[in-house]
Amino acid sequence: MKFEAKIKTGKNALRETRIEVLDKAGKFLVQAGELNEIVDAEIIGPGILSLIIEGKSYLVHITEGKNQKSVFLAGREYIFNEGEDAPELIQAGPGKFEGKIKAPMPGSVVKINGKEGDIIAAGQVLIIVEAMKMENEMRAPVEVRIDKIMVREKEQVEGMQVLMEVSEVEKK
């Protein structure tokens, strides 16, 4: 049995990966880029794999999120996006500014600067979210108008929850 997929690695590189199940239990033929190796893989716990490739031993942990998997290897995390198309690798870290201000982490809203309709200058604090005693200030990247505020002060929020919608103020 064979499986194949295209995996986007980084911003541009596209890599085709083929997995072939070999006769012996736990053995796979994996082709990715120029490498073509027999991989001895064993599940040793929920989401934990032990791999032996060319005699080298790797302990890998995979966690499954919504439409993505994270592969932890040697202290590093690799995120594989599994959206509509082929799996795509996305960068870890806080989301980009898209008109929606999102909570970078689960926590609680400490302070909201302004109300709907207010204009906030570039660099000024829009909202502060606290988790684990750390205050995270979300600042206006450019001069913006607050279109909608979805949360209240002291409210508990989830990571990546939309807190505010803002729009750029057109320069005359």
């Binding site: 049995m1 064979k2 499986f3 194949e4 997929a5 995996i7 690695t9 980084g10 990966t17 997995i19 199940v21 239990a25 736990g26 994996v30 990715a32 880029g33 490498l35 190796e37 991989v39 893989a41 064993e42 599940i43 040793i44 929920p46 989401g47 934990i48 794999l49 791999l51 490739i53 790797y58 302990l59 890998v60 942990h61 995979i62 966690t63 499954e64 998997k69 592969v71 290897l73 040697a74 202290g75 590093r76 995390e77 690799y78 594989f80 082929a86 799996p87 690798l89 870290g93 806080p94 970078p104 689960p106 926590g107 988790a131 684990m132 005693k133 750390m134 205050e135 995270n136 508990q156």
Partner: protein
Amino acid sequence: MIKKIFIPNRGEIAVRIIRACRELGIISVAAYSQADRTSLHVQIADEAIEIGPPPALESYLNIENVVKAAKESGADAIHPGYGFLAENKDFAAKCRDNGLIFIGPTPESMELVGDKVASRVTVQAAGVPIIPGMLTPQDNISSIITEAKKIGYPVLVKASMGGGGKGMQIVTEECKLKECIEASKRIAKSAFGDDTVYVEKYIEKPRHVEIQVIADHHGNAVHLFERECSIQRRHQKVIEESPSPAINEDIRRKMGDTAVRVVKETGYTNAGTVEFLLDQNRNFYFLEVNARVQVEHPVTEWVTGIDIVKEQIRIANGEPLSFSQEQIRHVGHAIETRIYAEDPEANFIPSPGRISVLREPVGPGIRVDSGIYEGYIVPSFYDPILSKLIVYDSTREKAIERAYSALSSYLIGGIKTIIPFLLNVLRHPEFRSGNLSTSFIQDYQEELFSYPEEEKIPFAALAAYGIYSSSARGPNTPGLREAGLPGVWDTLGGWKNTE
């Protein structure tokens, strides 16, 4: 004799204190907020009692609730740990008023040393060198701004109560000061229940070297040598070690003597820490006294062989110190790394959540003080510290190798931790040479924050992802052996079956 100890704290330090109690044959009572019902300290304590809602102000910082629960539990003593109410003089007094032994200094000496401004005045009078700064507390923000102008920028804004760098900020120009003071006050209020702040001169590239002290109620006071805690981010210690690679026997003796003098001048009892800054010419300045057991106490425990938490309990029991200054030895080298639930690749933003997988390092010369377990959901209400890895070996060089090896095998899945960052620090040549300062992380940020490029995904990660995903077609998929585990194969990525 103390028979039952109430512990209004959580996480690794509560677990640490519960262990000491167990070894001493003392019953432990874990206090917990509603967010901590499933926390480790609740499970391993002999007894457990709820003290309020998740926010610390309504539970761990709520003196009323804490004292009431302690009395209900029948405890005869309270060990506050660090943080929360540990350095709150009103709490210490309230304990005493309620017939509970507070395991720590008296409210009076705590008041003196706990107030950073007052303690500076006292020790300066006794000839201890201090950093130029405010010598009287000011509530009024504009007065603080005036003082800052006198001292000269850059200045440091600090919370008068409490420690751990919470609320501490460097301010380089006057126009930023007001905003920083307001933020510091907010944080100080929420962390220590007191929003007094003050400013002092900011010394550039100093080392943070502190002396562990311990004093009984019979007039005996000794020091247990130094710890170097220069590796800090956001004024929060990340890596601590003992001995300091910076000081020689002469400076060590002088700092130790000075620390004991501070203890005697302030009438301090029980375990505490006298913090100093060491400038680039090896001059040391008194910073503050931490009137509690310190997060980094294990490094001192390992190099001296003295169990500081048990000694605290004995002193609270009225027993005299079981050793004299001359009997205390300092052998080998110990390093502590703090494991925070933060994303080192995204400016250390907190990363609460469920720990899906946990493998703690074990073996020779390794100690883990941990407040977590596999399956634990790390709440977002409290400090991001998950655990501490402490290693010991005969030399600093070997201890660094051991720390690196142990951290490499520390597997915490499901949430982000600063382990990749700690590994970068431990392998940095300047760290290895012992060239440390509190601006170390800033000075070498380029190397310290550079992780292997995401674009070059190792073949092993790709293969693991591919095999895992392609096997995820249900329990009867051929190929991957499951070793008798419950089904985890219930999702399918973007894979096509080609055969």
